[in-house]
Symmetry: C2
Subunit: 276 residues, 2 copies
């Protein structure tokens, strides 16, 4: 008998995934956590009914949320990741030889532990001596930390459940405050077409930065169409990848050319931004 899992994207649009095996299911203190083996997408992490990442294409999202900021900054030594419990963003950040320290703040320790067990290819960076994990609320962390960062990456779950505070302006102001004078912040900004209100909210929050841009990719696991990231910068042009010998080779989605192309917005996306 086939087992299908249903993901509701909007009131009128759902995706169904055929499941080979339900590997793990628990209610953590923060959310419902599931690991499933999908018929078409490999193993997947699901939080509160939303597919977060799949082995099949996690590299697209994780490369694009990490390497754009890390290549736009001339010397990204101190990096902070908010969320990112599956470890994929940490894995990508640690590929940069210039990264001295990567702090990661994940509210739900069970996500990290479960991903280390079932998704070791994604959760491969946690043992790195440059990585420091904090299991606490990301919004609270950025308010109290004494750290000063070159890059802050917000790799949160959707704006429901435990991540809701990470979509508010106060969190963005606090991130601005813990960035050095030429720091860069990046946050995923959802789908501009399916979740326009969230996309606009993230863009609006970025107004604390003197420079802000949207860049785009598309991820088969996520809702169809463009998937957006918002990037704010105190000094450097985020759309320009530096040209140096420390570039990370062998990536599957990110290149310097992809970096530049991802900032070219179709007019209908630009129009949404202009209306904010």
């Amino acid at each position: 008998m086939d087992i299908w899992m249903e993901e509701n994207h909007t009131d009128g649009y759902r995706v169904n995934w055929k499941i080979s095996e339900l590997l793990w299911r628990e209610q953590t203190p923060f959310q419902e956590l599931m690991i499933v083996d999908m018929f078409d997408f490999g193993k997947a992490l699901i939080l509160d009914g939303a597919v977060q990442t799949t082995e099949q294409d996690e590299f697209i999202y994780h490369e694009m949320i990490s390497h754009v900021a890390l290549n736009a900054h001339p010397d990204p030594a101190q990096v902070l990741i908010i969320g990112g419990g599956d470890g994929g963003t940490l894995r990508e950040v640690l590929k940069h030889p210039g990264v001295v320290r990567a702090d990661m703040v994940e509210i739900d320790q069970r996500v990290v532990e479960t991903c280390k067990r079932f998704l070791p290819g994604i959760a491969s960076g946690f043992g790195d001596p440059r990585a420091q994990l904090y299991f606490e609320d990301g919004a609270r962390f950025v308010k109290k930390t004494q750290g000063q960062y070159d890059v802050v990456i917000v790799d949160s779950s959707d704006p429901t459940g435990p991540a809701v505070e990470l979509y508010g302006p106060e969190f963005y102001r606090d991130c601005f405050g813990i960035l050095k004078d030429d720091g860069i912040m990046v946050a995923h900004a959802e789908s501009p077409t399916f979740f326009t209100a969230y996309f606009k909210a993230v863009w609006r929050n970025m107004e604390v930065f003197p420079r802000r841009n949207v860049y785009l990719t598309t991820v088969p696991t996520y809702v169809s169409g463009f998937w957006a990231f918002a990037i704010g910068s105190k000094k450097h042009d985020p759309s320009k990848a530096r040209d140096d010998k420390h570039a990370v080779d062998g990536l599957k989605c990110y290149t310097r050319d992809v970096h530049g192309a991802s900032f070219v917005l179709p007019p209908f996306i630009q129009k949404i931004i202009d209306q904010v």
Copy 2:
């Protein structure tokens, strides 16, 4: 009571669309044709259970299949469209003031008639004096026509049902034969990740051209991730949009910058091409 329509993309991945109203349903001599009003996507054309186009985002697909070739060619006066029964590609082609004649060959007259009735915003070009419709098999048309074209656009349905011949190498050789010495052919090439075999087949067929490229967009209505087009050219570089005063303004997805960016392929897509 809610009515939902299910679209099967692969054996393990389906999309469900909530329907406000079923407006039309018939079995034509070629396929099952439906027009529905969707809860989230406006009115939609569905052929043999596959959503072909929706009012919500049809402009992305139709602009990107049309304006890239029409802007890469220095003087696209004679244009041939194979398929495209909803009229969206014809509408875009006719926006170019240099187009003298647009021949369109659609096998299923019922598609055109039904779209004129229910999707008039898409099917808006059929009355243009430059447009000439032929209701016949596209593969047969390109074999016998005496026409010589600047641009051939293959806007077919999926490679099942009546469009299957349009995915074979003979059809591509015939299209090459009816193109002038600096002609350009473009065909949609499905999803590189969901329908890799079809994507590879379209790319392989394009080898008849001295130049061939893939360019990408993403369309919310279609299966998630990148949506690909293959373009073959006898002379001009398809990735370069000409810079002239005849450019079409006011498009919602296509710009000259989007043109260039759409040819920048992530390595994992390039790798699929390299394996053909």
